[in-house]
Symmetry: C2
Subunit: 262 residues, 2 copies
C-alpha cells in the first residue's frame, strides 16, 4: 500500500523504537463471551443486536491480566489484536526518538485500545497498565471475518474508530487553545463523566495516574498540574489529597473549564 496519501506526520515525527520489555502477562486460560459480559453495553457489542452479539461469542476472546506498570503492547510491536479493557486503567503513550513522552490517552473498563495499529500493521503507541488490569484480546483478522457477515458489526467498529478520531480532536482543542486551569478542569470533568457511566461516583474518585502522566497528557509540567490542583482546592472547587479527588463544585469546575454550557 502506497503511503503517499497519508495524512499523518508520523513519519515526519520520528518515533523511537521502544525496546520490547518481556511481558508480565499471565497466559490466562480464561475466555470470555460478549453476551454475558457485564461490560457489554460499554464495550464492543454496544449497539449490536442480540444475534450479532452472539456471533461475537464465537470468538471467545482471550482474557489476560497485565500487572501494574507493565505494557500490554509497545510502540512498534506487530499489530494483531485490538484490546478491550475489562478491569483497571491503562495509559497509552508515544515516545519520540529523543525520549520525550506524550501520553495520548487513559483507558478504562469497556474502552478499546490499539486502533492506531491498523494503519501500518504495527502499534503506533504503547499501552501500559496503571494498576493491575485485565483485558480481552480481540484478534483483528478474526474480527474482520466476522464483519463480512454482519454489516452492523462493521458499522460498530467504524463508529468506534471514528469516536477515537473525535476524542483526539477534543484533545487537540485542549492542547491547542486552553490554559492550565481549563485543561485540568476538562480532564477532571471527563474522568468524572466516564466514572459515572461505569457506576462509580462522579464526584469522588482515585486517580490512577501520576501528576507527571496527567501533565504529559495535558501538555503541561507536573509542577503546574500540582499548582493547578492546589488552586482549584483554594477556590473551593475540589478537595485534593494526593490522588484522592472530591469534586465539591461541579458547576464551578465547568466554569473554570471556560466554555459556556450552550
Amino acid at each position: 500500500m502506497s503511503n503517499a496519501a497519508t495524512l499523518d506526520i508520523a513519519r515526519t515525527i520520528r518515533i523511537a523504537p521502544v525496546p520490547s520489555v518481556p511481558r508480565a502477562v499471565s497466559v490466562a486460560p480464561l475466555k470470555t463471551q460478549c453476551s454475558t459480559c457485564h461490560l457489554r453495553d460499554l464495550c464492543l457489542p454496544c449497539g449490536l443486536s442480540v444475534p450479532d452479539t452472539e456471533r461475537l461469542d464465537g470468538m471467545m476472546f482471550a482474557r489476560r491480566k497485565v500487572a501494574a506498570g507493565q505494557p500490554l503492547y509497545s510502540q512498534g510491536d506487530k499489530f494483531q489484536s485490538i484490546y478491550a479493557v475489562r478491569m483497571g486503567t491503562f495509559k497509552s503513550s508515544l515516545t519520540l526518538a529523543d525520549g520525550r513522552e506524550q501520553v495520548s490517552g487513559f483507558h478504562m473498563a469497556g474502552e478499546l485500545m490499539g486502533l492506531d495499529g491498523i494503519a501500518s500493521g504495527a502499534h503506533a503507541s504503547s499501552a501500559i497498565a496503571l494498576e493491575d488490569t485485565e483485558i480481552c484480546a480481540i484478534p483483528y483478522a478474526h474480527l474482520n471475518e466476522l464483519a463480512t457477515q454482519s454489516t452492523n458489526l462493521q458499522m460498530v467498529v467504524a463508529r468506534l474508530m471514528s469516536r477515537e478520531i473525535v476524542r483526539e480532536h477534543s484533545l487537540m482543542m485542549l492542547l491547542g487553545s486552553m490554559n492550565a486551569e481549563e485543561r485540568l478542569a476538562a480532564f477532571l470533568l471527563n474522568l468524572s463523566r466516564r466514572l459515572k457511566a461505569r457506576g462509580y461516583s462522579p464526584s469522588e474518585f482515585h486517580l490512577r495516574m501520576s501528576r507527571a502522566e496527567i501533565g504529559s497528557y495535558l501538555g503541561m509540567k507536573l509542577e503546574t498540574v500540582s499548582r493547578t490542583f492546589s488552586a482549584f482546592q483554594q477556590q473551593g472547587l475540589l478537595e485534593v489529597d494526593k490522588r484522592h479527588i472530591r469534586i465539591l463544585d461541579l458547576d464551578g469546575l465547568t466554569r473554570a473549564f471556560g466554555l459556556r454550557v450552550q
Copy 2:
C-alpha cells in the same frame, strides 16, 4: 447506541453549533470513476486490487467544486458522505462555544475528510476550502454496502481511519511537547513530504493557509508563527516571501525539528 463507553471528551468540551452558511457549491453534473482517476494511488482505491477498484466505479462519485473560503460541510451538519480532495486544499477546524477555533488539519489532493462524522452521525468538524477546490463525495451508506462485498475495501477504509488516528497522535505529540521552532519545522517537513508525494517540489512551495491558520493548527499565535519564520530565514534554513517558501537546508530544518533521526 449508548455512549457510555465513549473515549472522547467531546461531550465534556462543548462544541459550538456553527451556523450553516449557504453552500457555494456548484451542482456539478460530473461523476468520476476511481479506476481512471489520476489520484487513484493516493486516494481511497490505494491498495485495492483492480477488480475492487472497478467495483468502486459502480458508485460513480459525484464531483463538486467548492470555492475558496466556502465550507464543504460544517460542524454539526448531518453526516452522509466522506469526501476525497481532488484538487486544492482544505482546512478542517473545530469551534468551541466561546468562539475559539482550532484548526485540526490541512487536506490536499487524494486525502479523505469527514471520517470524524461516522461516530455520531454528524460532522464533528468543519471543512473549509482554502482555495478553489474540487472534491469527490463518497456516500457513506453506499460505501458500507460495497464493503460487505469486499473484505479488502473494508480493510482499506479501516486503514484510512486508523491512519487518521495516527495522524492526530502526531499532532498531539507536537502540541504537547514541542516548542515553537519544532512545531513549525515539523509542519513544514510534513508539508514538504506530502507535496513531494504528489509530484510537486518538496523544497519550494506556496502555502495555502494564513499565518493565523498555521498558528491555530500548531497551537501558537500568528505573531509567533511569523517570528519563527523569520528566525528560520535568519538561520539560513528557509527563504520566506509571504506565503512562498523555499527550503534551503532540509537537514538543518530536521535538526530544528529536534528529533534525532534515528
